[in-house]
């Protein structure tokens, strides 16, 4: 009964050699693949049913098409260490599909592109598989698992044991009729422990139809005004917000990523995450605004910062989720209490209508759990506040102190 130990005594290339090797492998595959790689396709039917299912007044725009492509790539940790990752990037409409695999070489985003939809939309999501440039020895299929989607059918659930998943150089359509607002998350479910640890994770949420009400609609004691947004169809304005920020907690084990990159046995039993991330970044990269180029080839692989900005008096909706494969995380916001209005994509309201929302100082999320938190900044002194994990030893970027799972909330006057 000795536990496997793939770490000790394992030959480790130094970073330069390792990444150079990766680049050479990547080039070799691109050359070898050539123009034969063209089996990338997408299905995007027009909305012709004549019904306005998303309530925006337009009966012809309810079908929404998105196109993800799975590949590998690189992401920088906040201590400067470059990690090999698996992930998704997005093929934007108008991009030439016959060039997509080439154009998305090593383009994995960490985290994946955010999927935000409106209740009533019908989502046609295409997943293409570009393969791994650094690991041409692998032929992994991939999937999209829309985690928490109610009444899922296996064909669009992405759980590989009970459905089909897409092989390299091919494309698979997914369909979701989006009827339940809230904060979900998504990830690849193939070889789930490995692919999620390697970074195939993203944010996903659905905005409610209540946003589309005509101005002046009375919701209990609250009157809807134009542009007012809500977390849920609450009927009373209790989940209303002015600013929406999605923060996904995650963590990486660099030894696992290095083992993957250098074709070593993967340390599952010894997995121990040492980078603690919000939207794929450790502090202070969390507050570095806008997309971040990686230090490998300059691709903008970490596109989503984690800074929260609001004006005093505004209500902020934090869409919190956790996709760590090893840790529960507890996060707090020093100086500003949290009001939890939703959990796991459901308004906190009992079956007979009792209000189960609650105030708290911190929220604890395990992998695959989400919470919708309202910050009421009324009376908050303008300045910078800190959102961080109370698992304080995770305020580290591995061996570097003053980092990890922290970001800043800036309240402007």
């Amino acid at each position: 009964m000795t536990r496997a130990n793939n770490e000790k005594g394992r030959y480790r290339m130094n970073a330069t050699n390792r990444h150079l090797g990766a680049l050479l492998a990547a080039l070799a595959v691109v050359v070898a693949a050539g123009p034969a790689r063209a089996a990338i396709s997408a299905q995007c039917p027009a909305d012709t049913d004549g019904m306005d299912t998303d309530g925006d007044g337009n009966a012809g725009n309810d079908n929404v098409c998105r196109h993800l492509i799975a590949s590998d790539g690189y992401a920088d940790m906040a201590d400067g260490r470059l990690l090999y990752v698996f992930g998704f990037s997005e093929i934007l409409s108008g991009e030439p599909l016959d060039m997509a695999v080439m154009n998305h070489t090593l383009s994995a985003n960490a985290p994946a592109p955010t999927m935000a939809f409106r209740e009533g939309q019908r989502v046609y999501l295409t997943l293409s598989n570009a393969g791994f440039m650094v690991r041409p020895d692998l032929f992994d299929p991939h999937s999209v698992h829309w985690h928490g989607f109610p009444n899922a059918a296996p064909i669009f659930d992405g759980m590989p044991d009970s459905t089909v998943t897409i092989k390299m150089d091919a494309s698979q359509p997914y369909f979701y009729s989006v009827v339940d607002p809230g904060t979900y998350l998504y990830h690849c479910h193939v070889e789930a422990t490995e692919h999620i640890q390697m970074g195939m994770v993203g944010q996903l949420y659905v905005q409610p139809k209540q946003n589309m009400l005509p101005a002046g609609t009375v919701l209990g004691s609250f009157t809807h005004r134009r542009g007012q947004k809500y977390g849920y169809n609450d009927g009373d304005g209790s989940s209303r917000y002015d600013v929406e920020v999605a923060l996904q907690l995650d963590s990486f084990d660099p030894d696992f990523h290095d083992a993957s990159e250098s074709v070593q046995p993967l340390p599952f039993a010894l997995m121990e995450d040492r980078y603690f991330l919000i939207n794929g970044r450790g502090y202070p990269d969390t507050v570095r605004r806008g997309p971040m180029p990686n230090s490998f080839d300059g691709q903008l692989s970490q596109k989503i910062d984690a800074q929260v900005r609001a004006r005093r008096g505004q209500r902020v909706l934090l869409r919190l989720s956790n996709l760590s494969v090893t840790e529960h995380f507890t996060v707090t916001l020093q100086g500003i209490p949290m009001h939890v209005v939703g959990e796991d994509a459901r308004l906190l309201r009992g079956p007979t209508g009792l209000d189960l929302s609650y105030d708290t100082t911190s929220v604890t999320l395990g992998g695959g759990e989400t919470a919708d938190v309202i910050l009421d900044t009324t009376g908050v002194v303008p300045g910078t506040y800190f959102l961080y994990t109370t698992n304080l030893n995770f305020l580290s970027n591995d061996a570097e102190d003053n980092g990890g799972m922290m970001t800043e909330v800036v309240i402007l006057g």
């Binding site: 692998l138 985690h147 899922a152 009970s162 089909v164 998943t165 529960h328 796991d344 459901r346 007979t352």
Partner: protein
């Protein structure tokens, strides 16, 4: 890396199960009927999917084999429950019953939490009135840290006076019930105990690498209850359903870690915690219940969840009906006859999973490439994974997939549901 061998292994075991076990109409959670129990703490070996075996301690039903977890104690609301505990282990043991009040202990020697039985000592008899229906656990109250790790845990189920209700209210009504009891093990500790080196056990270096549901790691979770090749692990964890069935999931965290338990396919409605209906006032029903797609039960705690997959509101007909076809029982009528919304790719571009029956539709088998083999999902049910979303717990000591995971099968309404 593509390595489906382990889950295929599970699939084959399931196929065996489907072939050789007749299906009773409506199963209950297997266990030992009360209200009087005679348990013996003794040692045995827990089997792991890759063929290992771990020296463990557990509670046995009388003269029976050590069990992991201990026998599920089944009693009725209002029963006066007596549990007589004997001890064949080299250390003192006892039993505590969180959620029960007025527990008395007769015999044995005094301990920190309750009376204990010394090795080979005179038994202790614990007695209490099972005053409230609900899902509870029991475990050793003696050196709980080591005892729980070694396996001295089990489920206590107090059935409501109303058959088919988990609690004294229709909000707890269910069609089928299942136990989901979470534990984990660090084999290094077990090895030290087995070789008489208890003094060297260091929990600061605690590192579990096996993760269990009802005492088995996946894919063994899907082997039928009572299978002879798991003499110490008699319980499976294999939920089965028809569309619209209300499944009562009795979740117990009998281990020491936090496990975010995720049910594919549908939310769970959490109706009770620690054996207490989530009600604002007695008789109000589960008016404080809430929905979760992933739930973390506190170690030592329990939750009762109602899970019901209906297939509503998907925007296409999951049965693949044409508009003129008759409705299935409970089918979501607004989607009836709506076509499948996309064109599936050429099968050569797709990797079929072992439970994929070859079509997107419930109860409809379709094309499976010959290389993929025969699916154990013989009736083309919808198969949903239930698992810890701390995904490194879906591993059996360095080998994925496995660990804290099982599959729910939702069968077509015409297909009888097997009981595992």
């Amino acid at each position: 890396m593509t390595k489906h061998t382990t889950s295929m292994g599970g699939a084959m075991l399931l196929a065996l199960a489907l072939a050789s076990f007749p299906a009773p109409a409506r199963g209950a959670i297997p266990g030992v009927e009360g209200p009087s129990f005679s348990l013996t703490a003794r040692a045995g070996f827990v089997s792991t999917p890759e063929g290992g075996s771990i020296y463990s301690w557990g509670y046995a039903d009388g003269a029976g084999l050590m069990q992991y977890p201990g026998p599920s104690l089944l009693v009725d609301e209002g029963d006066v429950v007596t549990v007589t505990l004997s001890n064949e282990l080299p250390v003192n043991v006892s039993i505590v019953f969180p959620g029960q009040q007025g527990v008395t202990a007769l015999g044995g020697v005094p301990g920190a939490l309750t009376s204990e039985v010394e090795p080979g000592g005179t038994p202790v008899t614990y007695q209490f009135t099972a005053a409230r229906p609900g899902t509870y656990q029991y475990f050793t109250g003696t050196d709980t840290q080591l005892g729980v790790e070694m396996g001295l845990v089990g489920a206590l189920i107090v059935r409501s006076a109303t058959a088919g209700w988990a609690y004294g209210h229709a909000d707890g009504a269910y069609d089928r019930e299942f136990l989901v009891l979470e534990t984990e093990m660090d084999p290094i500790i077990h090895e030290l105990v087995e070789t008489g080196r208890i003094a060297e056990v260091d929990f600061t270096a605690y590192r579990p690498v096996y993760w269990f549901l009802n005492g088995r790691s996946a894919p063994d979770t899907m082997v039928p209850a009572g299978a002879q090749w798991f003499p110490h692990q008699p319980y499976s964890c294999m939920p089965m359903s028809h569309p619209g069935d209300r499944l009562l999931v009795r979740l117990i965290n009998a281990g020491r870690g936090l496990h975010p338990f995720h049910t594919h396919g549908q939310h769970m409605r959490i109706i009770a915690q620690d054996g207490r209906l989530l009600e604002s006032a007695p008789g109000a029903g589960a008016d404080l219940s809430f929905l979760r797609f992933t739930t973390t039960v506190a170690p030592g705690g329990t939750e009762d969840a109602i899970y019901s997959w209906t297939g509503d509101n998907l925007g296409w007909d999951v049965y693949g009906h044409r508009p003129g076809d008759p409705l299935e029982p409970g089918e979501y009528a607004l989607d009836h006859g709506k076509p499948f919304p996309v064109i599936m790719p050429d099968p050569k571009d797709l990797e079929p999973g072992p439970y994929y029956a070859g079509s997107p539709f419930l109860g409809v088998a379709g094309y499976r490439p010959p290389v993929a083999g025969t699916s154990p999902n013989a009736h083309a049910g919808y198969v949903f994974m239930w698992h810890s979303h701390k995904e490194y717990e879906m591993v059996n000591n360095d080998t994925p997939p496995g660990g804290m995971m099982t599959m729910l099968i939702v069968e077509h309404p015409d297909v009888p549901v097997m009981e595992m």
